[in-house]
Symmetry: D2
Subunit: 341 residues, 4 copies
């Protein structure tokens, strides 16, 4: 809250009341009186003004509008930390010159399939294995994931291939079992504002990949990152995975402009998930390339050896040979923007 606007009907008393309220919070008022409006510039550390305090000014007599200029996130902001955050996971950097690709099935189905996929994506150059053991599904009747069994298969695939793993958490009560196995904890789009879960992973020392909510603004997303950072976990990466719009030709609308916007606002690494962003296999490759060109620090892509038998999202999973071709095609694009894959 940096500017308070009072309408023409505001009285001298209203203005005095606002000034006093500000002073009570250690802030000063700079008053510009116009013919139609009075504008109060707030001087001092306005970043400490909480939402509810801002609301209370908004609700005061005579106030027409309260404008916030200072961003409400701090630890996540570029101002707080000028240089890019680079997160190291088992020796692999996320946020550096190299663009790591995370790949694997949507859901872990069984050991054989998972290991098969892990070996294929590793051979193609992926640096992380993705796979869900706890699956958030729209329907209570759909496959909900293998749970700890799935986590064990992921760990075994890691042993075989050397690929660190990333898997999703849905419930704060699963923290122990998930951190026992995983290298990166994923917070899914539907849990971006599950604040208790954010606080929980904030106390962990595992890196966190925070997906953008389906209708979350970039600012809300950074506030959710702030929840995690404020608990002491500084290894947060942000993952754009498509937002909800009126367009139905794609599953979601992948908002690639979020990548350069985030690079300005925050020091945290930015990951792009083209698979969920578009929801159709044929569109994944062009959008993966576009993501790299737009400045993404990492990609996360769904790959399945037999998409037709995948228990989730088969329609958007690449086959291993398609993934292999994509990895080759991404290299010159990465080079063109001064990066490598």
């Amino acid at each position: 809250m940096d500017i308070i606007v009072l309408g023409s009907e505001a009285t001298e008393e209203d203005i005095r009341h606002i000034v006093k309220k500000l002073e009570g919070r250690g802030l000063k008022a700079h008053i510009s009186t116009g013919t139609e409006r009075t504008i109060i510039g707030v001087i001092g550390d306005t970043s400490k003004v909480t939402e509810e305090e801002e609301d209370s000014f908004r609700a005061a007599s005579g106030v027409e509008n309260v404008v916030r200029i200072v961003k409400p996130f701090k630890l996540a902001s570029r101002e707080f930390r000028k240089e890019d955050t680079v997160i190291s996971v088992r020796g692999i950097a996320i946020g550096g010159r190299r663009i790591p690709v995370m790949a694997g099935p949507c859901a872990v189905e069984n050991k054989t399939i998972l290991t098969g996929i892990a070996e294929k994506v590793s051979a193609a150059g992926a640096l992380f294995l993705r796979g869900g053991a706890f699956k958030p599904r729209t329907s209570p009747y759909a496959f909900q994931g293998l749970g700890e069994e799935g986590l064990r298969y992921l760990a075994e695939a890691r042993e075989k291939t050397g690929l660190p793993i990333i898997t999703e958490i849905m419930d704060p009560r699963d923290m122990d079992v998930i951190t026992k196995y995983t290298d990166i904890i994923q917070i899914g789009a539907r849990n971006m504002q599950n604040f208790r879960l954010l606080l929980e992973v904030g106390t962990s020392d595992k890196p966190v990949l925070l997906k953008r909510g389906l209708s979350s603004t970039i600012q809300e997303w950074l506030m959710s990152a702030e929840y995690i950072l404020s608990r002491g976990n500084h290894n947060v990466m942000l993952c754009e995975r498509g937002i909800r719009t009126f367009e139905t030709a794609t599953r979601n609308t992948l908002d690639l402009s979020a990548v350069p916007v985030l690079k300005q606002l925050t020091h945290l690494p930015v990951v792009v998930d083209p698979s969920h962003g578009v929801g159709k296999r044929d569109l994944v490759a062009p959008m993966a390339k576009a993501a790299v060109a737009a400045g993404a620090d990492a990609l996360i892509i769904e790959v399945h050896t037999n998409p037709e038998e995948a228990m989730s999202d088969g329609d958007q999973s690449l086959k291993p040979d398609q993934f292999d071709r994509l990895m080759k095609e991404l290299k010159p694009i990465a080079a063109a923007v001064g990066r490598e894959i």
Copy 2:
């Protein structure tokens, strides 16, 4: 999944494969061969086909499109239960002829303020007291609620006024403490697809008010209700509270057409929250009236004795005299649609 469309490039083999897949699931194929497309009508109980099975058909060779006609929710559907569900809470019916109004502050702040509000809204005709003890806040630096202390104040206000209470749950780990005090459990918009939380409240015998997610379709919302119903808790009510659109003149866009749409699709009671829907005090009354005219079964409205000092959402809270006036104005509208308040 009721119709499978194959494109002109689909082979005989592709069609045989689909037919076999269907038969393997106890379903029959009815094939219509056109010049450009082959349409397979699926005969049998398609409601049992899960999402992932549907995806697997979508991913099969030659398939262009899979169309679902049968709704994916069952227990929540009108077909499952023709008559309206009426939920009784301490003798007050929700979903019947009378339209109960739930009112109170956004957050419980202290005992004196809460009791003051409770007495005012009770005098004005509210039948439930609302108030948050656990508050989902965009910022980690904002007031997060009083926790159990807030629940105790709610229970004390219930004792004084006789009003049953409704309060929000954010975390499955809070089930015990919340059900110890509350009469209705509220699931907030940001947790509409917090599936673990849905399953948890599904095992409770307390009625649940399920708010619509900010960008949730009506079908997804009913699927979330299905999560709760599928665990055995049949006392679910749905609360429209505004969706996210491009319009910035209001906090959200209150989708009142969801009311008649839901009355067709489901037997569950429909509640409307005009306070969050619009986010501005002056707009609450007209939208509350419109909600009743559209067929809402109940309303939930924010009221505060001193909105300027409210710790949350002061900008959208009615003052007691405004609430009192609104309650009087709602009566003839309720009567006009064959209801009463």
Copy 3:
């Protein structure tokens, strides 16, 4: 443009430059220097600052943000005219205590059908006859309307029933033929920002019904009204007809909160079109009632004697007996909000 915010990297020179730019436009700067930002309150008649001037300040060195508080519309604003505009069409007031209902088919198809519908809606209490002679259709292969022939049928139906007529204009070249017949000119949603068409109807003395664009903010809508008003035609009414969102259960999302928002911002009458807003016959009646409860000044509703044979929008047209019943049901709701139908 009322506030200019400069970031911490702005120099003294940058500030002097802004001050000079303002003074060159007859405005004064009121500077509040904070530690992180400098806020310049602009004193003077900022409503004269055009968009491009505002952009030029935004593009100046050191500027982080330009905030507009004063609304960019003038003639359309409540400040310009405190009392409600009441438009009189052949003796019928729009914007007064009585809520006139405009009814009729989506498109004029032939004389017999149109006259039949006109007689039915007149008997049910409609005060205007609607019907399109020039139809904006998504497909070039769809029925595009009867043109002048359709206008003649409308005029003949007016003679028989006494109902004034309203019909849509799509092209400035049709002004003469349309104004020769119609009583109210309708601008459709797709033409809300067809600025040349707005200027053209602005020179007419016929009242104009301006529909909201599918993704137009309320402010843009009022700016389009301003186009018409600025040319001298003061008889403009605004028609909410649904906006485009992610929800697919309804054709559009009828934004009824636009009604009270508009009643605050402007003196112009507000009409609601529930037929296009929802797109399904069964949902029209509850939303028409909700519109009246929310404060609408008039309704426009599609009615057809044989919806199955309608050449446009049959799926959302009421049958005459349904319309008759709705008219009866609207009366007590209008009475409940101090109006009549």
Copy 4:
């Protein structure tokens, strides 16, 4: 319309009625009777079924749903024309291997500035000069363009630099004056469904760049292209320029996934406008690169020698040196996707 679904309450008579309706249109019905629903597959050339006929089936007794599988556009479809359309403008191909860049100011302001910009962008490698002489502005009080004077300046800049020009048409009455000067006619986003204007440019032999409407689906956009094609003008290119979403960090949300979606659905060239898509200078370069990586056939970019003094959109215009750098950076990305700039 390819599938008609009847609900459980549909009678034998209802089914017979539908079958007869289909037969009356030269189509055959293939009936699949299930326990809960009857599905009618429509056999024959369903692409000839118009919207209003489809609506009439939807409105028939017993019908629950009508599903269209066949795309409603024909001339614009990949099925109609397998190979890419390549449009030649003064010897420069659009839609071929080379990716031409169109650059210039938003609005033509005066001869000196325009010529200066034209020379700069030409030197940097742009192949077309853009500039608006007729400007669609939200406000009637904003600069509306120089009209024919602006067109003359464009023609003069073309003479000096050799760059063909592209400029926007807003009104069918301007066809003569605009086609007298321009090489490519631009239809702006707000006029994408100005159907009379589409028909008008459809009769021209000038190539047309058709921008996507702010809330238009890809299908509606192709239907608008179909309007132009159906009149005989086959030189249509589609320009993605951002859609309207809830996100406010960017002016619009540039939907780059539209590029690969369009490449599948249509043979027409796809242009991307990153300037309007993001609305902020700093974000233009990354999104231009992403557009090329996603498969765009051409780019259109705003450039101004003095953005602060631009009369429109200064905030999103690149300076000549920024544009020059971008052109160099685009080359390796184009090469990486098998194209050149």
